[in-house]
């Protein structure tokens, strides 16, 4: 049975076919290949998942033994347990849906084949990441999705800004990857294995005394912040919106950015053994959630709002991880995949309808005119805000509950997370109002060409909206509890569960109301608010100047060092100088030695005579 290997390899085949033969297949062929292979992967995943449920034991496949050092081994093996099963279903399912959407969205683009090739490549690496049994295979997938992300963000690379955005993503990820590597080195050196089930087992039994759990956990956390866009490495995600919208949906909302969450959820024993780092995880998550939510409130690009929203939601997932509620975090990954993908694809549909307009100040009143897009967008917005009984309500509520009630949580954590949720509801409904309600602020051109998207795009929207609506009823935390146990809630807090749910719903409705009040009608009240607090507005609009701070603190010194220390001093002065110096020395000494060749015959005879004298002396001494 090579089901798992086939699941991983199907998208790779798609990449190769579309990449090499894309031009010859034409748009139709490329679309068929590009969507059929992920669909095949999804079907195979269902099959593997069924066998997992039937047997109760994880499905394992060893594909290849890469290296063997005595007793230690490095293998390429795949592992489908409950956690990776859920993740794989999401990746292949939502992935296939987004591939189908892209058929309509990217229609007419001149690099159609390249797009689908890269998208399939991404899927291949993501499946490697999720299905890998050892940290090594996971890391290969980790790096690979970073590569695919770079390729797809900079897809329209002829625009230097877009290419720069791709570069920024790759470099920010690289910094996290360096930390990841250090963590892996520490594990290998002390434990002798990178096999995930083995690591978990060893640490859970308490026999991993030699492992520096704090260091490893911290390093992996830094790696996760790079991939999942948390403080301090989140700066690449808003810029990544330069890529095509389906890419933003798939990679920067549903799957790749959740890789960090997946990594930490994969090693629960490690983080339980290092409670200080777990606290740091939740602190980073909470801070990021709040920061991103505040920035999202003043954004004017439809995709940027959703990008900051993603960062914020990922922060909430990290909060859940930090307090030990791993299964809940994964639950939120799943629901977030549904509604965020729906939101991004809906935004793509709006952009498509308006022939490329992305600024929400030039939208408005679209509800009647692109109804399907509006309906699905509204459902997804309600889901992210946490209105019952939609999916987001269930997952977010669990997070808030465990933030408050878990032994590792605190009321402060709950307060920050709740504030972030309030802001989430607020800015999402603000977005909904500005885009779809009110009077039309469209440009004349956009007005003229306004049209609903084709069914291949709206069909996917409907599917994802439906999942956002009912997805909360999938008992995922319960399903995962067998593998990822939930933290014990102390008795004295158990009765607070329902009241806290009520508070959460109330906050969501408050956000909705505030947005409706500020942005309803002609939206002048919102502008009045902005005029009242000009300094705060400027600060938040400039994203708290974080990018500029990084530029000044990190980029400038690095550039200075590169220029003055490495280029001028090291390369030109030392290396070139020493080489030129050696060459010059050779030339000068050759010049001086060449004076022996004076052309003067008598000197030559003299030298011969001197040689004879020497030879005779030697003979006299030795013979």
């Amino acid at each position: 049975m090579h089901t798992l290997a086939l699941i991983v390899l199907a998208p790779l085949a798609g990449f190769l076919i579309n990449g090499l033969l894309g031009r010859r297949l034409g748009e139709r062929g490329v679309a068929i290949v590009g969507c059929a292979l992920p669909l095949a992967a999804f079907v195979l995943t269902l099959q593997a998942f069924a066998s997992l449920l039937a047997s109760g034991a994880p499905v394992q496949e060893v594909a290849y033994t890469w290296a063997q050092f005595g007793a230690r081994k490095l293998e390429i093996a795949f592992y489908l347990d409950r956690l990776s099963g859920v993740m794989t279903l999401v990746v292949t399912g939502v992935g296939t849906a987004i591939h189908v959407y892209s058929v309509g969205y990217m229609k007419g683009d001149e690099s159609y084949a390249r797009y689908f090739a890269y998208l399939n490549l991404f899927l291949f690496f993501m499946l490697l990441l999720v299905l890998g049994r050892s940290l090594l295979v996971l890391f290969v997938g980790w790096e690979g999705v970073g590569l695919a992300s770079y390729l797809l963000i900079g897809f329209w690379f002829s625009d230097p800004e877009k290419a720069a955005a791709g570069k920024k993503a790759f470099i920010a990820n690289r910094i996290g990857d360096a930390a990841f590597l250090i963590g892996m080195f520490a594990l290998w050196a002390t434990l002798g294995t990178l096999d995930l089930p083995t690591i978990n087992e060893t640490l859970a039994r308490g026999v991993g005394a030699a492992v520096p759990v704090g260091l490893v956990a911290l390093m992996l956390l830094i790696g996760a912040t790079g991939k999942s866009a948390q403080i301090p490495l989140y700066v690449w995600l808003p810029d990544a919106m330069a890529g095509p919208t389906p890419v933003s949906a798939l990679i920067h909302a549903a799957t790749m950015v959740t890789a960090g969450v997946y990594l930490i959820a994969r090693l629960p024993a490690l983080y339980l053994a290092a409670p200080d780092v777990a606290l740091l995880v939740s602190a980073v998550g909470a801070a990021t959630a709040l920061l991103a939510a505040t920035i999202a409130v003043v954004q004017t690009d439809i995709k940027k709002v959703l990008a900051y929203s993603t960062i914020s939601q990922l922060g909430l997932m990290f909060v859940a991880l930090g307090v030990g509620a791993y299964a809940v975090a994964v639950f939120h990954v799943v629901t977030h995949a549904f509604f965020k993908a729906c939101l991004f694809l809906g935004a793509g549909s709006v952009i498509h309808a308006l022939s490329g307009e992305q600024d929400i100040r030039r939208m408005g009143g679209l509800a009647r005119r692109i109804p399907i897009t509006f309906a699905t967008f509204a459902i997804a917005t309600a889901a992210i805000a946490g209105l019952p009984p939609l999916a987001g309500f269930f997952s977010k509520d669990e997070i808030l509950w465990f933030a408050a009630a878990s032994p590792h949580g605190s009321w402060l954590l709950w307060a920050v997370a709740s504030l972030a949720s309030l802001l989430t509801a607020f800015y999402m409904f603000r977005l909904l109002w500005l885009v779809f309600f009110g009077s039309s602020r469209l440009t004349h051109e956009a007005e003229h060409h306004l049209h609903e998207s084709p069914w291949i795009m709206t069909g996917v929207l409907v599917l994802l909206a439906a999942l956002s609506a009912v997805g909360g009823f999938f008992p995922i935390p319960h399903f995962l509890e067998a593998q990822l146990p939930l933290p014990e809630v102390p008795q004295r807090l158990a009765h607070l569960q329902w009241p806290l749910i009520g508070v959460a719903v109330a906050l969501a409705l408050a956000g909705l109301a505030a947005a409706a009040w500020l942005y309803g009608g002609d939206g002048r009240r919102a502008q009045g608010m902005a005029a009242h607090f000009p300094a705060a507005h400027r600060l938040v609009s400039a994203k708290f100047y974080i990018d500029e701070i990084y530029q000044a603190l990190l980029m400038k010194p690095l550039l200075w060092i590169s220029d003055w220390v490495f280029l001028r001093l090291g390369d030109r002065l030392l290396i070139d100088g020493s080489l030129d110096g050696l060459a010059g020395l050779a030339r000068r000494s050759a010049g001086r030695l060449s004076r022996v060749q004076s052309g003067n015959l008598q000197w030559y005879v003299l030298f011969a005579l001197a040689g004879i004298v020497g030879a005779l002396l030697w003979i006299w001494r030795h013979v």
Partner: protein
């Protein structure tokens, strides 16, 4: 004194000729004009011829005078008479830079050679025979054991003739 001289006439003559040859050699280094140098060389060669005769190889002595003095030096004198230019080599006889070093090197060689000769016990070297080689013996030996060298020499002379013709031709073209 005369009796002593007559008794050891051979040795005296040998000493005289030897001294003469040496003087000629030294004069060659010292004299300024090429013609005088040529004359010094001629004298050295004649003295050497005398030494050969004393030693016993009379035909070699004859050939020395015939060939070396009669052909080589005559030719040399002809050319000196043709090319006696008053050029810078008259004023500056020596390459100043090499004089000191050359003298040292030459002295070194000489000393080494002399010590090599003197260091050996005279008895080991044997005595100088006084037997004279007759022309007949010489010719027989020449054509019997060393006839290959004889033939080779004739080839050499042929080559020299060819080369001389080539030189004449070449110089003729350059002039015309």
């Amino acid at each position: 004194m005369m009796d002593a001289l007559l008794l050891h006439l051979d040795d005296a003559l040998l000493a005289f000729f030897g001294l003469g040859a040496l003087t000629g050699g030294v004069l060659m280094l010292v004299l300024r004009e090429p013609m005088r140098v040529a004359m010094a060389l001629v004298s050295t060669m004649v003295f050497l011829g005398g030494i050969y005769g004393l030693v016993g190889v009379h035909f070699i002595a004859a050939f020395q005078v015939l060939i070396y003095v009669g052909a080589v030096m005559v030719f040399m004198v002809y050319v000196i008479m043709l090319l006696d230019k008053r050029d810078s080599s008259m004023r500056r006889r020596y390459t100043r830079a090499t004089v000191a070093l050359g003298a040292v090197a030459a002295a070194g060689v000489l000393l080494l050679g002399l010590t090599a000769v003197v260091a050996r016990a005279p008895a080991a070297m044997g005595k100088l025979r006084s037997t004279s080689f007759s022309l007949q013996d010489f010719a027989t030996a020449f054509l019997r054991e060393y006839w290959l060298q004889f033939e080779l020499t004739s080839v050499l002379l042929l080559a020299a003739v060819v080369a001389a013709i080539a030189l004449m031709k070449g110089s003729g073209e350059s002039r015309g």
